[in-house]
Amino acid sequence: MRAAFRFRLRILLAVLGSMALLLLGRLFMVQIVHGAEYTRKAERQYTAGATTLYNRGAIYFTRKDGTLISAATLDTGYLVAINPEILTDPQAAYDAISALTPLDHDAFFTSAAKKSDPYEEVAHHLSQKDGEALSAKKIPGVLVIRERWRAYPGGTLAAQTIGLIGYNDDNTLSGRYGLERYYDGALERSGATYRNFFAQLFSNLGDVFVDARNARSADLVTTIEPEVEQRLMDDLAQVQERYHSKETGGIIMDPATGEIIALGSMPTFDPNNFEHTDISTFNNPLVEHVYEFGSIFKTLTMASGLDAGVITPQMTYNDTGCITVDASRICNWDRKARGVIPMKQVIMQSLNVGASWIATRLGHDEQRAYFTKLFGQPTGIDLPGETSPLLGNLQSPRQVEYDNMSFGQGIAVTPVQMIRALGALADGGAMVEPHIVRKEVLLSGETNALDWSEKTPVFSPQAVQDTVTMMDETMDEKVSNGAAKIPTMSVAVKTGTAQLTKPGGGYYEDRFFHSFVGFFPSYAPRFIILLYTNDPKGVQYSSETLTTSFMDLTHFLINYYDLRPDRGLTEPS
């Protein structure tokens, strides 16, 4: 028995001895054979503060076929740092680094001179290829460290809406504008993309089971279609450049759901390279700036009058060209009288006197009620900084204020508020919730579809249909004198030209705000488009500045989405 015990003991010793030899061999490989490499890696870990790579959720555009294209993502490369304590040849290091990336000479040598500092970053965002090439040179004192940063593949596309990230006071990055800011909580991630379950068992048991922050981390899927967005931005840029406007913007929305297909404004910026951009450009005027939109308001006045029953489409009124209300003059755009004309001419010829006539028949209380319903509450759009409209004149006792508001002066709203209200004409009388993000894709893979289904009824379907008929005839007969008519697609439109306000009160005679709204097909709209340009130079009417862009976008959308004709079909012979 003792012999048997000794035998087993020898076997155990042999096993333990083999394992010890194995460990010694491994130690030799790590310490001696690969020692230098691990020393460099350890040094990087120490000098870079052992920080994990930057991590953040993605924001996606959605193509019409459902393909997701990144609007905001993460790019990987290298940063270059130097250790001045051991950097022996700063000139050689500078030559090697500057051959791969632009490098400020003075800043580099200032950093290299800080002999008591073990770590100075000198270059960022090197590509994989350049980083590996520099690392392969093994220059003493030059550290090539993996880096990850926020990238925006679309550049200027929907830049103010996507937003950007910036440093906080505590040196952490967070969303500062746009969706990056609005959904910052969902987009932020801990540095580690993956957790080692077994390692966590030994060191951090709590995080194995529950990490509240990662439970709500998500990628965002927006409703923005990148090709439509590109088209819109190109058209806006052309208007901005041609008329030297202060700003130009546009929104394209699905009026049935509130999904915003495209939106943007000029001037814009590139979030990949914004160091020299004026900070005011980062704000989103589509939700943060209010404007007096002018005559496109007449469509809402008309719908209000029809819905309240104070007018009918068959009614006529006597248009005298100019009227005096509360000692103020209100005139048509050309100051011409039309005599007795039907109601639809208020829209087709954009008559201020006609709109005032409707406002008078509506009365203060009714007009206040309709306009408050249309503009008196936030749209709830998922963008930060939504501004309240200026509706103070709705409390005025004077008729002239209500008359002015009937044709869109003396009332100022944001473009998003405007398209939401006009969208009621394109959705059977109900306002939708305009929104950008359709769903969140959580880290677990689950999808959280956001609920934007709430609608606010404002007008009756009949009132809307009668108004849309007038807008439809405007397109067919008035825009470009009928030349813009699309025989196979009904399009409902209204233009607006509003005088700009002077700082001290009153209006400029020669400076305007132009707007253009339209949706198609007229009676089952698939898209509504709102365009505007603020203070265009050398031109008076919005039909001159925005018609071309609107028609370009309309034809583009019809072709791109393969919209079926709703009229002008030929029967087969």
Partner: protein, 93 residues
């Protein structure tokens, strides 16, 4: 056959020791694989981002392109007709 407590304990300690070393080896191997996988994911994401940038730049270039210069012409006429009642099908059953 009686097993002495000392022997049983020795065997248990031995098994636990081997098991502990095996677990450590598993953790370290798993960690290394995980880090490699994470790096691969990051590199691929970066490649995808580069492709997306190229795609969006191509869209922009197409928008600015002059169709006439590329050899395209506007159709002389466009007509739409309604569909016929009889459907043409190649299906045999």
């Amino acid at each position: 056959m009686r097993v002495s407590p000392v022997r049983a304990l020795s065997v248990l300690v031995g098994v636990l020791l081997v098991g502990y070393i095996a677990l450590l080896a598993t953790v370290m191997t798993y960690g290394a694989i995980q880090v490699q996988a994470a790096e691969a994911v990051r590199d691929t994401s970066s490649d995808v981002a580069a492709l997306e940038t190229r795609y969006l730049a191509a869209v922009s270039a197409l928008n600015h392109a002059d169709p006439t210069a590329l050899g395209y012409m506007k159709p002389a006429a466009v007509a739409y007709i309604t569909g016929t009642q009889t459907a043409v099908s190649m299906r045999t059953r």
